[in-house]
Amino acid sequence: MLKKMSYSSFPEDVLEHVFSFVQSDKDRNAISLVCKFWFQVERRCRKRIFVGNCYAVSPRMVTRRFPDVRSVELKGKPHFADFNLVPEGWGGYVYPWIAEMASGYPLLEEIRLKRMVVSDESLELIAKSFKNFKVLVLSSCEGFSTQGLAAIAANCRNLRELDLRESEVEDRSGNWLSLFPETYTSLVSLNIACLGSEVSISALERLLGRCPNLRTLLLNHAVPLDKLANLLRQAPQLVELGTGAYSADMRTDIFSNLAGAFSGCMELKSLSGFWDVVPAYLPAFYSICTGLTSLNLSYATIQCPHIIELLSFCPNLQRLWVLDYIEDGGLEALATSCKDLRELRVFPSEPYGAEPNVSLTEQGLVSVSEGCPKLESVLYFCRRMSNDALVTIARNRPNMTRFRLCIIEPRTPDYLTEQPLDVGFGAIVEHCKDLRRLSLSGLLTDRVFEYIGTYAKKLEMLSVAFAGESDLGLHHVLSGCDSLRKLEIRDCPFGDKALLANAAKLETMRSLWMSSCLVSFEACKLLGQKMPRLNVEVIVDERQPPDLRPENFPVEKLYIYRTVAGPRLDMPGFVWNMDEDSALRLSRKGFRTI
């Protein structure tokens, strides 16, 4: 027998106390691997769980291992679902999780979901199962209506956060917001920006009036500008505000009322909303701009001069989301005004136009990379790029951690040399040693993947579209990127060889998505059968099922993820798990999850 180590003679509650100072999942996981005793102590006192892929583990496995969880975060559909690449009905239902947690975690306080299907029944179950429920964040979710929200409002006495960011909510009308009882005062954060329907302004005003701790309020488009001033006066302590529609006829009384209300909000750090902006109303909030660290103008169709003027009042800005109306000139001004900028996102105002409608080029991004020493996160839509520009950006900003470039036309070469952009992106991965996230675009050969495999050692997420020439490209990435967790690929000539040669790598990653590539049905079957801890799911076109076509015909969509839960039980008819044989598939009934 092994000699008992001295550290395990600590009583359990001492260990638990020590562990309570360790919050990160990675560290808690490491603790649980030290020895069986530590595993047991750790699992009994872990309070927060993050499940990056809801199908990687079953709800039962989670509640069995961690009996005292207070906060759960789950993610469902693959990222490319955001761009309509995942068909309706694919999965990601949260109900089985809620059902399991209703009995397993009666003291649950927080639920955070991303890209999941959340039904009204799920929300009703949450509302009645967790007496101390405090935080509900539904990010890019769908499947629920204002009826589900009504259940939450009416029943969750201790609710602090209700955040519906970017979810799709069906309007079943009824006045759900008014269902917060008069005795309810604990609201800290409310994000209803995604709601298409109107909410009662008077109910909102009363809610604000009795919730002194409200810090975040993101209104929806339906809240008119002339109501905003009153709302602000009810909540001058706000730190984060999303306006509703930001337009009204130009009237001095509305303007001065609004300006007065804004000047009372001295804690404001973040502004967003600004649908239908009337530029004349922008100065209404100039008085609080020095405190702003985050500004989201990505719905504001205002032109460059107005943007430049606004930015000149925001010297402490750290995050800017904006439309490409800002143009190169505006980005140059940004580089001068906002030296503390950390994150920039530039969205296209006319993404489907054949010709550029604004003067925004690679130059704008270069200016910002030069002028803003703390810039580390970029999302940039543009129509042209050069290797020189990318190399300059890389040299300027070795501290870059997230770099997503979208050149709108697929396979666009360097506009100066007509060469692929391999060298440019190569410079990015070579210089930016802490790069965690990268999205590629433009004309790219296998070369760029060689650079990525060689240099991008900290890269966790890679998005690839219309790039590469052969399996070698994929092989470089899978064999070289040591930290890779998520890989999503569309329309690239990557096929069986690289995938099969790197099968083991797939178990070290969360997931791999490949669509419109050259992976054959046969290879998928092989992978599915050889790798029991992977779910190899093929999304088929039911009119032309892959098993009736030649076996080397490429599958249209492939999603591979590691799991300890085996094949999932809720696959729709158009999702095939390659571990099943066809007889089993035909007999499997759709598992109806609410």
């Binding site: 761009f83 105002s349 489907y352 060469q419 070698l472 099969l500 419109s516 054959s520 046969e522 490429p554």
Partner: protein, 193 residues
């Protein structure tokens, strides 16, 4: 290309089961057949030497690129963003919904663009102006009371319906033509059909 890919740790003997694209019996080095198997939409090979050719080639291969929206999910923009921007564009560029309008007793027909109107009141007013007559007041029970005219339309099924019964959007998508009925025929339509 083949020689460059090595199978490290080939415990599963993957090389033996290695799959090739292309029909059996064809030389692996025959790249053209790889192209034949893939769909037109998947990417073409683009080596640096032929970069120019590839770019122009792929452009001409695509169906007339009238709108970028032909590629699903590209550029990668969330749909809620598209919704806030697109309305401004489609209003200007999308074709109108033109329908013929006939008036009983009038010598010739007219044509109107339904998209121009935001709802029934505007449409009816426009018709009144166009043909110089008055439509009565609409009620669900009695149709248009107070005049000898009734605005009707032919729907997708070929039936003649009274204007105003269904929501405006539904009307816009199902209306094929309009007819302003007059006299006894009009009154007949108003009586509990």
């Amino acid at each position: 290309m083949e020689g460059l890919v090595t199978y490290e740790n080939d415990d599963h003997n993957l090389k033996a089961t290695e799959l090739r694209l292309g029909l059996p019996g064809i030389d692996e080095a025959d790249d053209d057949h790889e192209q034949a198997v893939s769909t037109a939409r998947t990417s073409k090979r683009s080596s640096p030497d032929t970069a120019d050719d590839c770019v122009t080639e792929s452009k001409s291969d695509e169906a007339a690129p009238v709108s970028k929206a032909q590629i699903v999910g590209w550029p990668p923009i969330r749909s809620y963003r598209k919704n806030t921007l697109q309305p401004k564009k489609t209003e200007v560029e999308a074709p109108g919904i033109y329908v013929k309008v006939s008036m009983d007793g009038a010598p010739y027909l007219r044509k109107i663009d339904l998209k121009v109107y935001k709802g029934y009141p505007e449409l009816l007013k426009a018709l009144e102006n166009m043909f110089n007559f008055t439509i009565g007041e609409y009620s669900e029970r009695e149709g248009f009371k107070g005049s000898e005219y009734a605005p009707t339309y032919e729907d997708k099924d070929g039936d003649w319906m009274l204007v105003g019964d269904v929501p405006w959007d539904m009307f816009m998508s199902s209306c094929k033509r309009l007819r302003i009925m007059k006299g006894s025929e009009a009154r007949g339509l108003g009586c509990g059909v």
